[in-house]
């Protein structure tokens, strides 16, 4: 069974992907629900990008940051 090479990177990807999915409804219609999702999405995307930026140097060196 294959184990994840970088749990940090995968966590960053999960955060970012979840954020992008939250943002998507806001591009169709602006309302109280979509605005809330949008703000949550912005937080998730920035959190994901921040974690990714931290783990990126290790990934680029082809080393496991964990």
């Amino acid at each position: 069974m294959t184990r994840p090479r970088s749990r940090t990177s995968l966590a960053a990807i999960a955060l970012t992907a979840a954020g992008l999915c939250c943002i998507a409804p806001a591009t169709f219609a602006a309302g109280p629900v979509t605005v809330g999702l949008f703000m949550a999405g912005v937080v998730l995307v920035f959190a994901g990008v921040l974690v990714a930026a931290v783990s990126l140097p290790a990934l680029l060196r082809r080393r496991d940051p964990d």
Partner: protein, 204 residues
């Protein structure tokens, strides 16, 4: 300020960013398929998500200026229905009928001019959103503070208004410019009055 992109471009950017994330995750999960290249990592983890977020934000900010966005909270039904009422004599309805700001009628009058005006409007909008989801607003809904005449004068030029043809404007010019006398005092209510409604109560 970035120009708002069409919704399909924002969605395409979001889908592309998610697709790149999926490819990177798959390669990290199963490295025997080949590790992701440095370019793919940088673009997929940083550039694409932030670009998609920026594009979606421009769309979101543009949509928030439309009447439909303001009317999406049911507590605003009264104001929007008055705005669209062809028989209404309120200032908002008369301006809307004159086709002076067909799409962003609420935003046009409720936003000050300049960068500070947009920022203040967004901050107020966030406050309204919080009040709506927490059911913490109070009825009747009233404009907080004092409506600046500068918002009216931004569209209605001062030169003809303060010319000799309208003696009352000339007489009150200093008071109008100092916001001592508001435009509403002579030109009527901006919106129709509404009955008191309990927060959380449904219906217009």
């Amino acid at each position: 300020m970035l120009t708002p992109v069409p919704a399909f471009i924002a969605i395409a950017a979001l889908a592309l960013a998610c697709g790149l994330l999926f490819v990177i995750a798959r390669r990290l999960w199963r490295p025997e398929r080949g590790r992701p290249s440095p370019a793919l990592l940088v673009v997929g983890l940083l550039v694409a998500p932030l670009s998609a977020l920026s594009l979606a934000s421009t769309r979101m900010v543009a949509d928030m200026k439309e009447i439909a966005a303001c009317g999406s909270c049911h507590v605003m039904d009264h104001f929007v229905s008055d705005l669209l009422d062809s028989a209404s004599v309120t200032l908002a309805a008369r301006h809307f009928r004159a086709d002076s700001m067909p799409d962003d009628a609420c935003y046009a009058c409720h936003t000050g001019y300049g960068l500070a005006g947009s920022f203040t409007a967004k901050r107020a909008g966030l406050h309204h959103w919080w009040q709506y989801i927490t059911h913490s607003w109070t009825e009747p809904i009233e404009y907080q503070g004092r409506y600046p005449n500068a918002n009216c004068l931004a569209c209605h030029p001062e030169e003809p208004m303060f010319a000799d043809s309208i003696p009352l404007h000339v007489a009150l010019q200093d008071s109008i410019m100092a916001d001592v006398v508001t435009c509403f005092m002579c030109h009527g209510e901006p919106h129709a009055r509404r009955a008191v409604k309990i927060p959380g109560e449904t219906g217009g």
